[in-house]
């Protein structure tokens, strides 16, 4: 098992560096630097000096090595847009709203989705099933900013129950968390339903019934445990949805989180910030991959114990 985790760690590290390399070179390959914009005209001499100070005149691979060396020591450089602080400081300020909203969204959405999916699978072709399927389709197809917009229109503009935007007071959190939660809810509702239906159709469920086990024991001990195996693999796509969604949710609700900085860093070609954000997201992905692999192996005896005969 330890060997398994180590092996996965190595492959995750490799993926991480390949991705960082691709992003780094892609970002630099496109013409235009941070001081080419029209809104901040600078003379050639000043530009050269600035470029030299930031190390942008060096060959790309030198820049990359220097940068990655820093990254290993949690030094992501200084953001061009607010040179008074380091990227690390800026991010450590920005990730709190993102984590609170996104985390609560997942924590609320995922269990609700699982419950809804279970209810749908166990009550096939009833109104619960149709309701769950409709909700799942809506949640998975309609972009987050559209649902956010609808939430704001209904609850803030028309009904006036809740504030539409901002950060700070808990009542301001309700709408963005709802918007966030819809993604894991829809994902888990859909996958739990299909995984449970898959398992319920397996031969061994009939055998369990024939053994005289009660229906609740069959569902909660056997079916759920077996369905959990494919569900673990869904964690990643759900995570993708939430992470990507944060940009739009934060833009819609004017939340000062990572998503907001992502957009501004792209617009201003703020390489250090942009790199740091992309690397951070990639890193979270790799961790998510690793975790889902390990959990998958832990709950699946076929991998944990290995082949016998």
């Amino acid at each position: 098992m330890i060997l398994f985790i180590l092996r996965r760690l190595v492959s995750v590290a490799v993926t991480f560096f390949v991705v960082s390399l691709i992003i780094f070179f892609m970002m630099h390959a496109i013409p235009g630097g941070p001081f080419d914009g029209n809104d901040m005209p600078v003379s050639q001499a000043v530009r050269d000096k600035l470029m030299a100070r930031l190390g942008l005149d060096q060959p790309l691979w030198v820049q990359y090595t220097r940068y990655m060396w820093g990254v290993l020591q949690f030094d992501f450089g200084v953001p061009y847009q607010s040179p008074g602080e380091t990227v690390t400081q800026l991010l450590s300020r920005a990730w709190i709203p993102s984590l609170v909203l996104g985390g609560l969204g997942v924590l609320i959405g995922a269990p609700l989705g699982i419950l809804l999916g279970m209810a749908a699978a166990l009550n096939r072709n009833t109104w619960i099933d149709y309701f769950a399927s409709t909700l799942a389709t809506l949640g998975l197809t309609i972009p987050v900013f559209v649902t956010s917009m609808l939430l704001i229109l209904v609850f803030a503009v028309w009904l006036g129950w809740l504030p539409a935007s901002g950060w700070g007071k808990p009542e301001r959190w309700i709408l963005p968390i709802t918007a966030y939660a819809l993604i894991p809810l829809a994902t888990y509702a859909r996958y739990t339903r299909s995984a449970m239906l898959d398992t319920l159709n397996k031969q061994f469920v009939t055998v369990l019934r024939a053994k005289g086990l009660s229906e609740s024991r069959i569902v909660f001990q056997h079916v759920l445990r077996n369905s959990a195996i494919p569900l673990v693999t869904v964690f990643l796509p759900m995570f993708i949805g939430t992470a990507t969604g944060s940009i739009f949710v934060e833009a819609m609700f004017r939340v000062p989180g990572l998503g907001a900085y992502f957009v501004s860093s792209i617009e201003t070609r703020d390489y250090p910030l942009e790199m740091a954000l992309m690397l951070m997201i990639t890193f979270m992905y790799c961790i998510a991959y690793l975790l889902s692999d390990v959990v998958y192996a832990l709950i699946n005896p076929r991998i944990r114990v290995g082949g016998g005969q």
């Binding site: 061994f204 076929r302 114990v305």
Partner: protein, 585 residues
């Protein structure tokens, strides 16, 4: 009062366009300690009837009956508590495929203990101890270890034993066995059947044996119910059914059990055999992970084999799954590339030919597969499928190709107007006919038939075998008949090659191998053939794999004219009869 009583049972399933009646008015009863066999082909409603007895049918099924009682309880009206008591305690069930019958994420021990604890108030420790005892009773030697194993770590035979142990765990009054041996290898099948009979006697249970195999019926039961199309055709004591069947369907079933054909004529004038395999072998590289490193080991699927297929004759290639018989057939067709060895067609070696040179040889040799579902392209009409060989080899115009395809459709016993149909509209037997037509339309001299009938129902199987034999005689074909079904091999083939773990262990003319088998594995195979009549049923002794090695025949140098050798080798002991043996001084 009978233990099981079913009167006028009707089951129907609602589907897309209406209802399918699976069971139409079936009645039967089983007394305590009695064993009843229900025989019929797939779709005859035999499994559905017994599932209805335990209310195991899916929600889409509509069940009605004048009476279904199990141990005095009305099954259709049984509440939750009654159902739990009925299932597992009054009646226990064994299923067809043990590989899918266990929950993959729990250990065997857990699953047996869970069954015990569902019906009795005992601690987990006591339940596990009891589970161990049960495993010992079904002749599992290392019972304690097996308790901690997961289903995927055990072989099918072991799992089926564990399944029987689990069924016995609550001392049921009736054991329902739903095709308990169909998914297993021949030798294992016989062992499981014998085990079921043994525990039935020991525990004094009634037995309901559901099967498509009359041999199983002859071996295990007292009374037989013959079902067809959801109805009971005939019922009676087992001896009477076998000796004096009254219904035509029963007669057809029995006839299919006792088919025999004239031996093939052979062709002594031919200079070379139709197909000859010389030292043909296949080894796969297996990746093995140990820590960070991967090592490769060779897995010998087939060790060097020599097989001769004479002109105008049928050679049977038998062995259990994993014996390498299918790989050998695939290599002969060059569908799997052999690792070493030669393939001689009419004396010409084709093992090294490139695709273009090979193409002309392809006309002389063809293959029919086991699974007729996937053997036909679902997007093509039957005439397109049968004409495909002509198309690939560019023979004739499109019109001539279709015309010839339709002729062949008739020749394999299907009407010409089937030409424009698609394969999903056909039954399994009909599809296999089409596959045969496609294989033979080019007029090959060699046909490799890879288990062509093992997925078919008994009566259909007999028809397909009949068709193959008829066409063989007409066309003077040489057939390599790969099968695990020894009764078919006995009736159809001229000589037999027995494979075991990638080696040929014995080969001889059919008559000789059935009358005088030499290798212990051949004997085990022959011994496992179920009786064709209840009169012939017998006790069997089974050999473990280690015993098989130990009992390898020994011959002296004087008998064989070979140098002494401790490793077993193929030794000729009579004309055409070779056996794997150790040569001693």
């Amino acid at each position: 009062m009978p233990l099981v009583e079913i009167e006028d049972l009707k089951v129907s399933f609602s589907q897309y366009g209406g209802q399918v009646d699976a069971v139409r008015g079936v009645s039967f009863s089983v007394n305590e300690g009695e064993s009843l066999g229900i025989v019929g082909e797939s779709g005859s409603g035999k499994s559905v009837s017994c599932s209805a007895l335990l209310r195991l049918l899916p929600a889409t099924a509509r069940v009605s009956a004048k009476k279904i009682t199990l141990d005095g309880i009305d099954v259709l009206k049984a509440g939750k508590e009654d159902l739990i008591r009925l299932r597992g305690r009054t009646a226990a069930m064994i299923f067809q495929d043990p590989m899918t019958a266990f929950d993959p994420v729990f250990t065997i021990g857990h699953q047996i203990a869970e069954t015990i604890r569902a019906h009795r108030q005992v601690s987990q420790r006591e339940a596990l101890a009891e589970a161990e005892q049960l495993l010992l009773r079904v002749e599992i030697k290392n019972a304690r270890d097996i308790l901690g194993y997961y289903p995927h770590q055990l072989s099918g035979g072991m799992l089926q034993r564990a399944m029987i142990a689990m069924a016995l765990s609550c001392r049921p009054k009736v054991l329902i066995a739903d095709e308990p041996t169909t998914a297993l290898d021949v030798t294992i099948q016989a062992q499981i059947l014998q085990l079921i009979k043994k525990v039935q006697a020991e525990f004094g249970m009634a037995l309901i044996m559901i099967t498509h195999d009359l041999g199983v019926i002859a071996e295990t039961v007292d009374r037989v119910l013959v079902m067809y199309g959801g109805e009971v055709m005939e019922e009676g004591p087992v001896q009477q059914i076998f000796d004096a069947p009254r219904h035509d369907y029963t007669k057809a079933l029995l006839a299919s059990l006792n088919t025999s054909f004239d031996p093939s004529r052979g062709d002594d004038t031919a200079p070379a055999p139709a197909l000859e395999l010389r030292g043909l072998a296949k080894a796969y590289r297996i990746k093995r992970r140990s820590g960070f490193f991967t090592t490769y080991t060779d897995f010998h699927a087939v060790r060097p084999v020599d097989i001769v297929l004479p002109r105008n004759s049928i050679v049977g290639l038998v062995g259990e799954s994993g014996s390498g018989k299918t790989t050998t057939g695939m290599m002969a067709m060059r569908l799997t590339e052999p690792s070493t060895g030669q393939i001689l067609v009419d004396g010409a070696d084709i093992s090294g030919l490139g695709p273009d040179e090979l193409k002309s040889f392809r006309r002389r040799m063809q293959i029919v597969f086991q699974d007729s579902y996937s053997a036909l392209d679902p997007m093509m009409t039957l005439s397109q499928i049968i004409a495909e060989p002509l198309h690939i080899h560019g023979i004739g115009s499109a019109r001539e190709q279709t015309e010839k395809a339709l002729d062949w459709l008739e020749r394999v016993g299907l009407p010409r107007n089937f030409g424009s149909r698609y394969s999903h509209e056909l039954s399994g037997g009909q599809r296999q006919r089409v596959a045969i037509a496609r294989a033979l339309i080019l007029g090959p001299s060699v046909l490799v038939a890879d288990e062509p009938t093992s997925a078919l129902d008994v009566t259909v199987k007999a028809q397909i075998i009949g068709l193959l034999k008829e066409l063989q005689a007409e066309m003077g074909l040489s057939i390599l008949f790969i099968s695990h079904d020894l009764s078919t091999v006995k009736s159809l083939t001229d000589s037999v090659v027995v494979m075991y773990r990638g080696r040929v262990v014995e080969q001889a003319p059919t008559e000789r191998i059935f009358s005088d088998p030499q290798h212990p594995y051949t004997r085990a195979l022959l011994d496992a053939i179920p009786a064709a009549n209840p009169r012939d049923k017998r006790e069997r002794t089974f050999l473990a794999a280690g015993d098989l090695e130990a009992q390898t025949p020994r011959y002296t140098t004087i008998q064989t004219g070979l140098a002494p050798n401790a490793t077993p080798q193929l030794v000729t002991i009579a004309p055409g009869h070779r056996v794997e043996a150790v040569v001693t001084t």
